[in-house]
């Protein structure tokens, strides 16, 4: 039951992965996302890619 409430889909995880770069996530969002990332290597990869894009854009003027 508790796991059902904590479970999110990849689609929802992608949204949180973006939003955590723009706002502080709520505690339950952090827990849901972390749980998802421990079992989903696809979203873990996307997490790294979003950070990669941020870092890359900051270097676009160099």
């Amino acid at each position: 039951m508790i796991f059902g409430w904590l479970r999110i889909t990849c689609r929802q995880a992608h949204v949180l992965l973006s939003e955590r770069l723009d706002r502080g996530l709520k505690p339950w969002e952090v827990v849901r996302l972390r749980l998802h990332l421990t079992v989903c290597d696809v979203c873990s990869r996307v997490a790294r890619q979003f950070r990669f894009i941020s870092d890359a854009v900051r270097r676009i003027d160099t």
Partner: protein, 190 residues
């Protein structure tokens, strides 16, 4: 650096500044104005440039302020385009199954530092940003290049914070896809 050399060095930065300003403002006239003001301001305050940082870093810092000023002057047009863009719904159905799980596996992008060392990569990145709809690109660049916080971006573009987060998400999803196809597609997948 004497004043004559400085003047020349600043003038030589113009093409780079214009390229960045266009990427962020998405309007050639606005970009020209922001860059002209930047060059004037840089030369006027040249005595404050004590060579403590790189000249380019210093001038780009001035450009960032001028770009924000330009957004304020063009507020109405920017907000109209942002509102139209925010009304678009993008579901990325090609990426997700009905149950919300991802259909295809993204590639491994490898070591970021190795990629950042390639000049051609930044040309591809720029092309991908240029292909974004103007309003998405502005909001995205405000966040990631101007490094404004979301509250300020929402204010500059007159969009709600929810719309702001959605637009930033859409921009990242499109850029991710674009970079994967245009740059990383040649690399082996793991």
């Amino acid at each position: 650096m004497d004043s004559r050399n400085l003047q020349q060095a600043v003038a030589e930065l113009r093409p780079t500044l214009l390229r960045i300003a266009r990427l962020q403002l998405r309007n050639d006239t606005w970009a020209e104005d922001a860059v002209s003001e930047t060059l004037i301001s840089a030369l006027e305050s040249a005595d404050r440039f004590a060579g403590q940082s790189q000249l380019k870093t210093w001038v780009v810092g001035i450009l960032k302020h001028k770009i924000i000023d330009q957004f304020r002057r063009s507020g109405r047009e920017v907000s109209i385009e942002a509102a139209a863009e925010a009304a678009q719904v993008e579901t990325f159905d090609e990426l997700f199954a009905d149950d919300g799980h991802r259909l295809n596996r993204p590639r491994d992008w490898g070591d970021p530092e190795a990629t950042y060392s390639r000049i051609q990569f930044f040309e591809v990145l720029q092309m991908c940003v240029e292909e974004l709809p103007a309003a998405l690109a502005r909001v995205f660049m405000m966040r990631e290049w101007l490094e404004l916080d979301t509250a300020q971006i929402c204010k500059e573009a007159s969009v709600s914070s929810t719309n702001c987060f959605v637009m930033l998400h859409r921009a990242r999803m499109r850029l991710r896809e674009c970079l994967e196809q245009r740059w990383f597609a040649g690399e082996p997948t793991l």
